[in-house]
């Protein structure tokens, strides 16, 4: 394994904000290690900020061979343009083969700009990364067609091959207190021009949702047809002592607030029972419900991918099934325990 050269390695962007909740950089370093093994190269974590010493040490502890650091007061806050300029210059000098980043809010607006600056390809929200044994190319597996299929994407000619990955897709390596590595401080040029300036930043109070702890989750999808239909799920949830969740098109349409979103960009749940109603089964949604013990799906299309995730699949119109279900349960539950 050639670790003496800093060129042609696998780079991982160090997204250290919310460090103890946001483990995506560590997860990508772990995946990077796997890829590095196959490709015979090393993993470098790229870190920009002020007083980021702690994170440099953490990245080494969790498997990075090298940490490349820019320490400067101007870098204290995440900034898209400044970070793009710095990392683009380093990438042009050190020629990494692969550059990975977490699909956090910042990653999602920063990585495309960086990819454009470097005139290279970027896959978003990859669900897997692997190396093609014949070509040595990075295979970026992403959801396609609204999440109904998986696409294997490659970046055949441009470099670095870039990809973002959601937190939780890969597993981090355990903290190794014995780890050592190289820390590199390349020269940096910081231009004072600030076209985007954060005037105030406040931690947003996260509204406590019982969704993640719920034993029963009822999920409504776009196929319900309207916000009115969606509202009927709340009664169903109450009868079963559960919580209501929603898929992304439902949230985008404004039928329910974002706190109920289940999916890659929302919450992940692990209930005893999950009933998924009128959801097609997009991958960005199903990854978040995979941990449920039992899944029952209702959809009018027998081909809907959701049925691949269900322990019991019911093919029918939710508009016909729901009222009947509610009626049945009301009768069964009347006289039984109430909240």
């Amino acid at each position: 394994m050639d670790t003496s050269s800093l060129a042609h390695g696998i780079w991982v962007f160090g997204d250290y904000r919310n460090y103890f909740q946001n483990r995506v950089t560590l997860q990508l370093i772990a995946k990077g290690r796997e890829l590095a093994e196959t490709l015979g190269t090393s993993v470098t974590a790229v870190l920009l900020g002020k007083e980021v010493h702690q994170f440099a040490m953490e990245y080494i502890a969790h498997g990075a061979d090298v940490v490349m650091v820019a320490e400067h007061s101007a870098l204290e806050r995440y900034q898209v343009e400044l970070y793009t300029s710095l990392i683009a210059r380093w990438a042009e000098a050190f020629q990494p083969d692969i550059l990975l980043g977490g699909a956090t809010s910042f990653g999602r607006e920063f990585f495309p700009r960086l990819a454009k600056r470097l005139k290279t390809g970027l896959s978003a929200d990859c669900m897997n990364l692997s190396v093609d044994p014949d070509t040595g190319l990075l295979i970026q597996t992403t959801p396609a067609f609204g999440g109904n299929l998986l696409a294997e994407v490659i970046t055949p000619r441009r470099r670095p091959q870039m990809a973002t990955v959601h937190p939780g897709v890969f597993k981090e390596l355990p903290h190794n207190v014995n780890a050592t590595g190289r820390v590199v401080y390349p020269e940096i040029e910081v231009n004072a021009e600030e076209r985007v300036r954060v005037l105030r930043s406040r931690r947003q109070q996260v509204r406590e949702s019982n969704l993640e702890d719920a034993q029963v989750v009822i999920v409504g999808g776009w196929g319900l047809g309207s916000g009115e239909e969606f509202k009927t799920l709340f009664e169903l949830a109450e009868l079963l002592e559960g919580e209501v969740g929603a898929t992304r098109p439902v949230v985008l349409a404004g039928w329910v607030d974002e706190g109920r979103l289940l999916g890659q960009t929302g919450k992940t749940v692990k209930p005893r029972l999950l009933i998924s109603i009128a959801t097609s089964g997009a991958l960005q949604y199903t990854t978040a419900i995979n941990g449920a013990e039992t899944i029952i799906a209702i959809n009018r299309d027998s081909h809907a991918p959701i049925f691949k995730m269900a322990d019991l699949g019911l093919v029918g119109e939710s508009s016909a099934v729901l009222p009947l279900l509610l009626e049945t349960l009301r009768k069964r539950m009347s006289g039984a325990r109430r909240r």
């Binding site: 103890f20 010493h53 040490m57 380093w90 000098a93 014995n178 190289r182 820390v183 020269e187």
Partner: protein, 179 residues
Amino acid sequence: MKYQESHLSAHHNYLVNGMLAQGFSVGDSGSRNGFFLLADIVPFSETAPRISARLMDEEARLLVELEANRIRENPGKGSIEHSLDGYRIVNFSGEVLMEVRTRAFANGYLTLLRARLFDEHGHLKVEPCDESICVYGGNYLSRGSNPKSEVIQGRLRQGKNFLHRFRGRLPVRDVSCLR
């Protein structure tokens, strides 16, 4: 593109020349009378930094010799003042010769130093820099994680005859010079 490089540990590092380093040394710790400052690698079972040094005045007179954070020879009648996060070596006249402070993170430690030190020829070798120090001339120490270094680890852990043990041979795997 120019860059500077050092060796980093997951457990404990010093901040020197604006960089993290597992350990570093300036001057010759093996010499009998010359100036040196050795910030040694801290094994994972310990949390305190390991500083050894021969602190001198501009006329190359020995003030204090420090071995693994303890005063060994003290012609200058200096003293150690301990604090919650480290200690200071204070001159007879109350002047602070060197300050050592360690910051604890969730899973690791960072030691910052503060000193202005000259060698036996009156040349400035160490001075305050940002939060810590900059050193002129010297080596970064590193410890790989292979079985051989475990043995060296074992020796480091014993500590008592520490200075004798490394005299003439620094406990290093790789040595790279300051760029």
